[in-house]
């Protein structure tokens, strides 16, 4: 059997997740919807509970020891994120609700300040709405032009194409590290280099990469990077915006309110320094503690090890998916991760998902918040996506269920 070459024991990892333990009232699911959100290990759930139970207090405001402890935990989470993505300093880490808010923050604060009429913003055709709509709206508001970097028919980005699109009017290139539909890994370091040569900034949407491969902001040399906690084994309600210090210095605040000002007089405001400047109001404190635990969980396995194992599993899945007659898989064969968008005969993706669901396999179907890309691909797709707790048994079950789906819809075995 092929199983012998696998470098991780996913069964052991599943032991760390309550979601995968037998439960009298719950179905035992094969969870293949990890690009939407991952399940949470005990370590994360307990870190959050423990915070609520014993350390809960508001942060950053003078008074008492428990408040000091809460602040310490909150700032420790920031430090953990900084180390995780190799930021130069913790002040470059702004906590937000998620990827979507992080990118909206940049479009609003940086964009509305520095993008001028006639400027150009390059986005790729494969972007999730979170990395598309903010730029469409910014372009409209500021009279700038949205330039679309189209994908190839095999679902990749060509750097030659970018070279043609870049000009001295380009202000920003917005690109996802990994597409949430095609699974393709984009050459973001190269893209950033080219953007910088043209005098533009580069924003990397790392929502789909952060939990699946090493992400090093200094190696990529991106100006902005965004991700969500909930796709990296952490809770909802927390995300990260990384930005280079100099940018955070010159950007105006986003939300305004408590905690992000030094002085408020009726006639004069003085903002706090970054990152506080961008974190008005009570931040997601318990959620930051949960994210800290999630990053610890990821590093306890090791990101190199995760990437290697998920690559093995991806290869296995690619081979097996080919066995299903009438299955059409999108995205490239190489340079990709375990996100598989596909169609099957003329069976509608929702119907596929429902049949799989009846077999206790969770996949997603639809346009995946990437309408322009879905349009390009010809419509909705079904999507199975992997995480560290999946294994070949799950792939095998998926393949069986796809054969069964064909049968339900009257296709010959």
């Amino acid at each position: 059997m092929m199983t012998t070459r696998f470098t991780l024991d996913a069964r052991e990892i599943r032991q760390q997740f309550p979601f995968f333990q037998p439960h009298p009232e719950m179905r035992n699911l094969i969870y293949l919807d990890n690009a939407a959100t991952t399940q949470k290990p005990y370590a994360v759930i307990e870190a959050v509970s423990n915070f609520w139970a014993y350390h809960n207090a508001n942060v950053h405001r003078g008074g008492h020891g428990v408040g000091a402890k809460a602040s310490e935990l909150y700032e420790a989470a920031r430090g953990r994120v900084a180390r995780f993505i190799n930021a130069r300093e913790t002040a470059e880490i702004v906590f937000t609700r998620g990827t979507t808010e992080s990118i909206n923050l940049v479009a609003s604060s940086w964009g509305e300040t520095f993008v001028q009429p006639g400027d150009e913003l390059i986005v790729t055709e494969m972007e999730h709405h979170a990395n598309l709509l903010p730029w469409m709206r910014l372009a409209e508001k500021r009279g700038a032009r949205l330039v679309v970097w189209h994908i190839t028919d095999s679902g990749t980005l060509e750097l030659d194409q970018l070279r043609k699109l870049l000009s001295e009017r380009t202000r920003l290139v917005a690109v996802s590290h990994i597409s949430n539909v095609l699974g393709v890994i984009n050459p973001v370091a190269e893209i950033c280099r080219m953007a910088h040569e043209a005098g533009a900034l580069c924003l990397v949407d790392a929502a789909q990469s952060i939990a699946h491969m090493p992400v090093d902001v200094q190696a990529i040399d991106c100006d902005f990077l965004a991700f969500s906690g909930h796709k990296a084994y952490g809770p909802t309600g927390i995300g990260v915006l990384y930005a280079k210090r100099a940018l955070l210095e010159e950007m105006p605040p986003y939300h305004v309110g408590g905690g992000m000002v030094q002085t408020v007089r009726w006639d004069r405001l003085r903002w706090a320094e970054p990152p506080a400047k961008f974190e008005a109001g009570t931040p997601p404190i318990g959620e930051a503690v949960g994210l800290h635990a999630a990053l610890d969980f990821i590093d306890s396995i090791g990101r190199e090890a995760i990437a290697a194992y998920e690559h093995e599993l991806t290869e296995y899945a690619l081979a097996r998916l080919q066995e299903v007659p009438g299955l059409r898989l999108y995205g490239p064969r190489e340079g990709r991760t375990g996100i598989f968008a596909f169609t099957l005969e003329d069976i509608h993706p929702h119907d596929i998902a429902t049949v799989l669901d009846s077999r206790d396999i969770a996949v997603r179907a639809g346009l995946h918040c990437a309408h322009p890309l879905s349009e390009r691909l010809g419509g909705p797709t079904a999507r199975a996506s992997l995480a560290i707790y999946n294994d070949t048994d799950h792939i095998d079950a998926l393949i069986d269920a796809l054969h069964y789906t064909r049968k339900v819809f009257g296709y010959a075995g």
Partner: protein, 147 residues
Amino acid sequence: MLDELYQEIILDHYRHPRGRGELEPPKITQEGFNPSCGDEVIIDLRVEDGRISDIRFHGRGCSISQASASMLVEAVKGKTLEEAHQLIEQTLALVKGEVEADYAVHGDLVALAGVRNFPVRVKCATLAWHTLEEALKQASAEAVQET
């Protein structure tokens, strides 16, 4: 459970939709859309003497949404507006599991009751019916204008 959903009758309407197409004007057109999955049903209809004298649908989407539209077209053609309203209510109640499925009452539409066990699919089954509801509002508004 799955068998209840993908019955012969649903798959038959999906493969061989009744009344798929568009009407020539004058007509009332109403578009229905489910943003989370992209299902689309567009209903064209014509009202004469208070009755739905002609009706067609087109669009794209999953088997449930399209079969449901096909069954709708078959079921409401020739009905008065009042009867159509009643049928919408009956069918929505059926789909949502608020009433028992009863062939004597619902006819072929009983097949739609299969979605009850698949909450994510309820919207697919109801899309055409909500779209018809909107179309009938247009029809009533036009009728008021004419008087």
